[in-house]
Symmetry: C2
Subunit: 154 residues, 2 copies
Amino acid sequence: MCNLYGVQPDLALDHQLCFALYAASRRVQQAYRPALDDLGLTYPQYLVMLALWERDGVGVGELGERLHLDSGTLSPLLRRLEQRGLVTRRRDDPDGRRVEILLTPQGDALRDRAGQVQDCLAGQVDLGPEQLGALRDLARALVNSTPRSDGGTP
Amino acid sequence: MCNLYGVQPDLALDHQLCFALYAASRRVQQAYRPALDDLGLTYPQYLVMLALWERDGVGVGELGERLHLDSGTLSPLLRRLEQRGLVTRRRDDPDGRRVEILLTPQGDALRDRAGQVQDCLAGQVDLGPEQLGALRDLARALVNSTPRSDGGTP
DNA sequence: CACAACTGAGTTGCGTGCAATCTAGCTGGC
DNA sequence: GCCAGCTAGATTGCACGCAACTCAGTTGTG
């Protein structure tokens, strides 16, 4: 845990938090994939739909704030969701720069089928509900710690 | 908050394990980025180097097994590492299909500078060592649970 | 030995993530 | 009213991930 130039600070892959999170995140995406294929959604698209089911009629920026994503990622993603008829983008606000994202009836209806997506995880992951809850809370704490600012290593 | 179909299992974004892990993983990548920029590595490239510092002279398949990545991801990544002079790929084994990945002296030397990369996380994340350890263990348990097989939702 | 089945890497296509840049629209100072 | 500066999205370029496929090389069977 300490590192000068002499001591080697445990570079082993398996001991790295970064790798554990990286692999766990992709592992969960794999677990969701079959269910999401049924809905015709990718994993990030599913997360966007989750956010919109919670509250739509928001701008791209607000959506990105909730998902920690920027317009460079969301713009093309939302275009695809629009092409599939799940959302619409309106640009007629008082503020002509804003684009409002709204669910279509189709997009809203998809919500009823989304419950089964979560059940998919339960059958595939060997962690108890308690452990999953703890993992979720820890991960959430990690996300909210010290938002993107300058890096270290001055 | 509840739809028909009886019990609605809480579709709120913030309660989802999938989102927590997804966001946490990207958050950690952001924390590492400044330090990795100094080394001229991307985050996945850094993980590959970690694996190779642990043991090199391995085939692409073995490397992928350790990292849970397939050749479709590793082949181009390794090509870039080779272009930067950090690894070499040899194809003269007894088994002519195998490609052995070996660290160059440069790639090996980079290891001495990699210690500082981990210190970068410590200053940016508001989790104690205990919590980080717990998170790592949980995430690792999740990764190793029920490897990629068929999906759910029969 | 001949040949089908298998295997290890590589390639292709598509959808992210994200930095950097661009563009259109708004806003404040004069 | 005018223009510099700001802001919200969109676009561009590059590097993943991963499914699907190709290709070269090996192995098992007769």
